[in-house]
Symmetry: D2
Subunit: 344 residues, 4 copies
């Protein structure tokens, strides 16, 4: 059994990790930590886990000491020291935060206001979006787990971009996120009466996931790609819907597009390419690690529209982290993640 | 007092009209009709109206006979005969359906599958989006009341388009609608457990409002304009959020944009141009006739983003119909519509 | 015009008062105050009010100085000094908090942990539930405005109790409240993802409204009455549904019950006694001052069931406060409150 | 592997069965049937199941032919013929409908309007609420699976009733149900805009689950017990919250109560007796087979309050059916049902 530990277990991503790891057949949850709730059982914070995960929150140090793999679900900026400790002690390290996601430190400085403390760790780490960069992940022990938008948008567009079916300078992603994406801390705009029956965009064209999306798409395209990215907050608990637009290159047909997506994703368990005529819905992927993708063409304007839906807490966070752990430990990638999404 | 009648009073738009007309100081609700509920009091269909509007649903003929102004809230295709009857009897006629919205019969045939039975009525009618086409409305008695998306998108973009600030061939509208937009008839996809906690696009790049949006924008631009239009269904009761994108023309600044919008809408009671830094939210316009608009630039990609929010049942249907009635009858345009939207 | 001021205008009850007073034909909103947002326009806190109520929040003293009637929407315990100031300056004073609701100081001490600073003010004040105690209100200038549960439960049961149709020692109220009842301050249990799709009871048999409900019912019954009262938090914004139970006295019929309710409430504009066969729904009273009541008998157990529905922010707070103001100032009681509730 | 079949697989209970059976380690889903969708893959009806359960809906006969255990998720009245067929062919039969739940045919006639076609089948069947009647289930092959309310209410009250801690003639259950309880067929009152932001009681004191609740409680009490039962419809997808009230017998303490519940449920995996001070919340049991129970006393009125929360589709339908199957086939009762409920 792999001994797994979660640092930051009382945030939403951490709590979701605990849930998924509890059901993983090759994992024993070894330790959890929380600064805010140290000394308290996790089930006191999340009564849903009562009698199922009553493990008491300890310290970060305890987690590192007792685990083969350490998952970090920390606010941005707090992962680097922990990564170093794991690195030195030979622990596998999977970071759900942003500290190791951007290859270019300049981007990190500009969008997050931080610096890279240990460049060698950034060298040793790899960006863990398996469906696009699986080969790079194998053999690594330090994984930068992608964010939610940064999973949904690249998966929606990669095959079209890679195959030259869309114009690289025309990409636009209008995204809609469930509220768990805003984290566990209560704020005015996530207070029930103010969010319920509302909807608005936020951080318009200024969200931190922008450079991360561009980084992945640029790798796929083989050249620098920019995107217009506008996120919206949606009155549902879970889910990212990414409606992605790009101009088609000349005389591209839906058949060519479906061929490209079929080739890219035909063997991917977690990507469900929907039959023509359906439209991806966050409803259908909740609580699962699936990414549903539907493909559309606006013939009137020669525009390609790819819509992807994921559960932001699973494929957009904890589920993908487990998927990465499976790769790191040489397990079948779907182990512990073969969940049938509830229909309602 | 103006005697007002509503044909199709038991659909959502009709019922909302009844609510607004009941609070209008210059109007007496004279008659309502419904094919499905003829002979039943309206408050039996909508218990919220109990003891406030217990008027019994009669026939279309009765409405025409007893009203100075007839509002039609009928399924598309059923308004033309009623329009003719009103025309012949000298009634003002305000149609909340689509039969008179498209100037080009070819568009109507292509998108709605119908034909124009009485071309002279189409000559006599006018498209009732007051903030853009007010002068054309004055003096007319037959009004084609715009749809919800077709109010939100043109209002968001018109000043930028008119002033040449955006590229005409780059317009994209990613829209999100509350469920009342789907009407009162229960369907599988509006069944509570299937829509709740879900979100998806529908009629991707094929929604009937496309030619209507293009018609308004083309009038504003002075030339034929095409748009990419994708609507989404949102798990809230009311509201349209239109996130509209277009490439800026060379070296346009936010100052120029705000000047253009200020000039266009500075005198408009129902348009609230939000202060820089805010983002339009459907929450803030519910139950009111306001259209909130926020303006943004993505400097990285030189893209203009205008976001508009309306209540689809009010500014997107019944409220705008009353606004049009006010114009037709020479009243102050805001009469009966000076509603403070509830904050929660 | 009556000059009205609101102390605590940025809480939910205060903000709702502003909305209702803005639409009142005999009132001019003279001043608003807020400790948290002093110096800021109200519309910055509630963007729904943008351009409609941009009044800047001042101090409590300014409100008293500029108003004929002062509404207090303050946390419990903070009203007494303000009441004294209003009393001395001859202002009418309507308190939406609990400081003046309980006639028995002992109850106040037990349930709120406070004392009565100015007994003469408590003498001068009156409990403002017009449908039950209207005569006592006339001529008074200091009104203790009832809470939400304490409006819904007594209105549901009073006629049955008064007419001896139910057993006084068998009363049970199982109540369900929308989230605005918890106020504007974000907390963990009102954080959207934790409340959404959930439901639970809170303060089981220990809610502070218990003695207030009992006080009103005891007045009606003419003797001390106790109730079992359990509130629940409901994932909706607005509304109280009070499902009230009591054993019928011997051989009471529905006809007798309806007679009693008809006699008590037949002339009450704000109480809608529903036709037999319907069940009160919070949906139908939202944004209005109505209290819908449905009456049922469980013949198998000889139990009376009365269900009342109100909007907790209107009839349960701000609307009733305006109704009380209308009485104090000799206006028609429904002035400014003849609102048709939206059907959806 | 047990070959399991589901008759009526496209209703909500049937679809949930498919989801749970798909994750059961000792079961192979052998066949599904649907009258409405015969010939169509289940994933066309429920896109959440795409590529996970694309099994084509066949006929009832096919299900019986190919299965060791047949689950029936049919409208009331349609199970008796199917039961007979299974009985004759030696199939285990688990009925999620009501046809075999009531021991007294007279009750069935009164509440469901049907008759017992094959009395011997009613002799052979047993009521499958394991935590109360486990011993009776062992060795049986025909199980009447309880309904949702009829699981939640008896579990909440049984230990108190059995131990004489409450007065048998004072039981009242005020219940709140998620919308999936109303089934998959769209209706006006489950149409999203009409249910959202609303709440009301329905079938007040006349719901068909009443005699079934009384039957279980009467068995526990050893004498005929009546209950006041009022269900409410709640704007959430899943969950039953049962707030149950009864007068305490003389001088009963919380310690006695907790002892009784501890003794009754201490060994029950699926019942979580909450620590004193917490209140059961449907949030915490969603998608799982748990029944959370919290215990309260209103000392002012000497009233016992037990609140239970279940997922109506799992412990209130499909999960309990699987639990019963596990008993019938001699498996550990929790097999396939050890699910950690999601925290959000």
């Amino acid at each position: 059994m792999i001994r797994a530990g979660v640092v930051g277990a009382t945030g939403y991503a951490g709590a979701e990790l605990v849930r998924l790891l509890s059901g993983h057949p090759c994992v024993r949850l070894a330790a959890v930590s929380s600064v805010s709730f140290q000394g308290k059982p996790l089930s006191e914070v999340y009564p849903a886990y009562y009698r199922l995960c009553d493990m008491v929150c300890g310290t970060q140090e305890e987690v590192v000491a007792q685990s083969d793999v350490v998952f970090a679900a920390l606010p941005h900026g707090l992962s680097q020291e922990l990564a170093k400790e794991c690195f030195e002690k030979g622990r596998a390290f999977i970071d759900l935060g942003a500290d190791f996601r951007l290859e270019n430190e300049e981007d990190y400085r500009e969008w997050y206001g931080g610096t890279y403390l240990y460049p060698e760790l950034h060298e040793a780490s790899v960006y863990g979006l398996p469906e696009l960069f699986r080969e790079a992940i194998r053999g690594k022990k330090m994984i930068a787990n992608p964010g939610c938008y940064t999973t949904a948008v690249p998966l929606a567009l990669a095959p079209a971009l890679k195959n030259g079916l869309i114009q690289k300078d025309s990409i636009l992603a209008d995204c809609k996120s469930g509220v768990t994406g805003a984290g566990r801390t209560p704020t005015q705009n996530t207070h029930y009466p103010e969010l319920n029956e509302g909807m608005s965009a936020y951080k318009v064209a200024s969200h931190r996931h922008t450079p991360e999306i561009e980084q992945s798409l640029s790798h796929v395209a083989g050249e620098k790609v920019k995107v217009i990215f506008v996120p919206h907050l949606l009155p549902v608990n879970r889910g990212i819907l990414a409606t992605c637009y790009a101009k088609l290159t000349d005389s591209v047909t839906m058949e060519q597009i479906r061929d490209a997506y079929g080739e890219a994703y035909g063997g991917e368990y977690f990507i469900r390419l929907l039959p023509q005529g359906r439209s991806a819905d966050i409803k259908n992927v909740r609580y699962s690690n699936f990414c549903d993708i539907s493909l559309h063409i606006d013939h009137r304007t020669n525009t390609f529209i790819a819509i992807s839906a994921i559960d932001n807490m699973v494929k957009g966070a904890a589920g993908q982290a487990v998927q990465n752990m499976n790769i790191v430990f040489g397990l079948d990638e779907t182990t512990g993640l073969r969940i049938v999404p509830p229909a309602f």
